[in-house]
């Protein structure tokens, strides 16, 4: 049975190993994301978030976007996670199990999220149908740098000003005076 499925998939030009890898990583990511929003321990939530963001980086590699994957690892797993852990420690959340992490009306979030998933999922399936992504070589980083220093130069400079303003703003907001 599985042999026939593999034959059919191979006939459609679908890379089976890539699909299996995608499925495993996707399952781990969804499980970790559910743990982020459901765990009763704030530090554990930050660590489960690392699993989700690492899974996103792995999916970027499957989507042939190596440079974005490396940036994701550097910025998110390297910097943002440490920032979250600092935020947890500076606000003195209890390290162990914590109570009162949920709103009183938290159950209302479930139908909202389910409805959103239904609508977006329907739109995605309606848009893509049976479209197949062709196997492609990794994106050369020189293309990205050409895009940044060519047509996207002005947004790139604007982003650097945004980062500068955000850094100064964070210092001004958080400093003790």
């Amino acid at each position: 049975m599985s042999g026939t499925i593999a034959t059919v998939l191979a006939a459609d030009g679908i890379n089976v190993a890539k699909n299996v890898g995608f499925g495993i990583i996707a399952f781990a990511m969804i499980f970790a994301a559910l743990c982020v929003v459901a765990t009763k321990n704030v530090v554990h939530a930050a660590l489960w978030l690392v699993v989700v963001l690492g899974g996103v980086a792995a999916q970027y590699i499957l989507a042939a976007a190596e440079f974005v994957a490396i940036s994701q690892v550097l910025v998110y797993i390297g910097a943002v996670t440490v920032l979250f852990l600092f935020g947890i420690m500076l606000t003195r959340a209890r390290i162990g199990t914590d109570i009162g992490l949920f709103n009183s009306g938290w159950a209302l979030g479930i139908p909202v999220a389910a409805l959103l998933l239904g609508v977006v999922g329907w739109a995605v399936l309606d848009y893509t149908g049976d479209d197949v992504i062709a196997n492609q070589a990794p994106t050369p980083t020189v293309l990205l740098s050409d895009a940044y220093l060519g047509p996207y130069l002005v947004p790139f400079l604007a982003l650097s000003f945004v980062l500068l303003a955000a850094a100064i703003g964070a210092i001004v907001i958080a400093r003790k005076d």
């Binding site: 959103l116 998933l117 399936l125």
Partner: protein, 99 residues
């Protein structure tokens, strides 16, 4: 690989993040849920980049990574300020602006 794979995965991540934003009371946990939503959006952009076959989606993903880093920094600074003023980061206690 089906084009819908990445998009459906990011739809699931987005929904979980929206649930976290609605359900959590701790401000730091709400910021983590916002990160889930942003990760879903970035995965979507990279997927569109591969589907369409141009580089633009990856360029915008890197922009989003930069903006998200700024957002987390400012957001945690604000949480810190709220904690310093009120000794608590429960979002349902911040209700002075309710009419």
């Amino acid at each position: 690989m089906l084009a819908a794979n990445f998009l459906l995965l990011s739809a699931v991540l987005f929904s979980i993040g929206v649930f976290g934003v609605l359900a959590r009371r701790n401000a730091v946990l709400v910021l983590m849920s916002v990160e889930l939503v942003l990760a879903a959006v970035m995965l979507n952009l990279v997927a569109f980049s591969t589907i369409v076959g141009t580089i633009d989606g990856q360029v915008f993903t890197l922009f989003v990574i930069g903006v998200a880093a700024a957002e987390v920094g400012v957001g945690l600074a604000m949480v810190l300020m709220v904690y310093r003023n009120r000794r608590s980061i429960s979002l349902d206690e911040l209700s002075e602006m309710k009419g």
